[in-house]
Amino acid sequence: EDKVVQSPLSLVVHEGDTVTLNCSYEVTNFRSLLWYKQEKKAPTFLFMLTSSGIEKKSGRLSSILDKKELFSILNITATQTGDSAVYLCAVEIINTGTASKLTFGTGTRLQVML
């Protein structure tokens, strides 16, 4: 059975701190790993990672994938209260001949305090 595990489940930090969120996976037919940010409603896309060792960056957020050890990390530097959200990791599985599918982790709830 395909599995995506995120840690920690929740995290409380102060503004300005740096946080690292973890995502490990065990899936067949891996294609890519995606990170989403979910505030009150729908998840919004952050990153898609397909190759090991290549860091993706967007402002204060960055992410990297290790396909050998089957994990990814999401880093947020100089956190702000607006970073408070649930961060979801999902793995895209190759599904030959049909739509690709995502398997999601349960998410890490990040709360950034003033």
């Binding site: 989403y36 898609m48 397909t50 999902a90 739509a99 599918k101 349960t106 998410g107």
Partner: protein, 116 residues
């Protein structure tokens, strides 16, 4: 640009009543479409996906069904709701990203369903 709509935004229904949630996508053709449910404190669970009109795949056994009567319309239904059907229902779409032959999924605003 592409947009995805879901309605209603919130819904309170009694046990045993029927359900119909609608999702439409604009600005793209022949998208893959997905229905997810997110129960409180849990991750997103894929319920159904569709690669084309009237082509539906079910991921988990349940009392829900899905239909795709038009290319950009995806409907989630139930004849009789259960308490366990409560949750946050998200519709998503994706298309093939040619540069790496992969898919990104984009989510609609969601419907929060409470079954009482």
């Amino acid at each position: 640009s592409q947009t995805i709509h879901q309605w209603p935004a919130t819904l309170v229904q009694p046990v045993g009543s029927p359900l119909s949630l609608e999702c439409t996508v604009e600005g793209t053709s022949n998208p893959n479409l997905y229905w997810y449910r997110q129960a409180a404190g849990r991750g997103l669970q894929l319920l159904f996906y569709s690669i084309g009109i009237d082509q539906i795949s079910s991921e988990v056994p349940q009392n829900l069904s899905a239909s795709r009567p038009q290319d950009r319309q995806f409907i989630l239904s139930s004849k009789k709701l259960l308490l366990s059907d409560s949750g946050f229902y998200l519709c998503a779409w994706s298309i093939l990203r040619v540069r790496d032959f992969s898919y990104e999924q984009y989510f609609g605003p969601g419907t929060r369903l409470t079954v009482t």
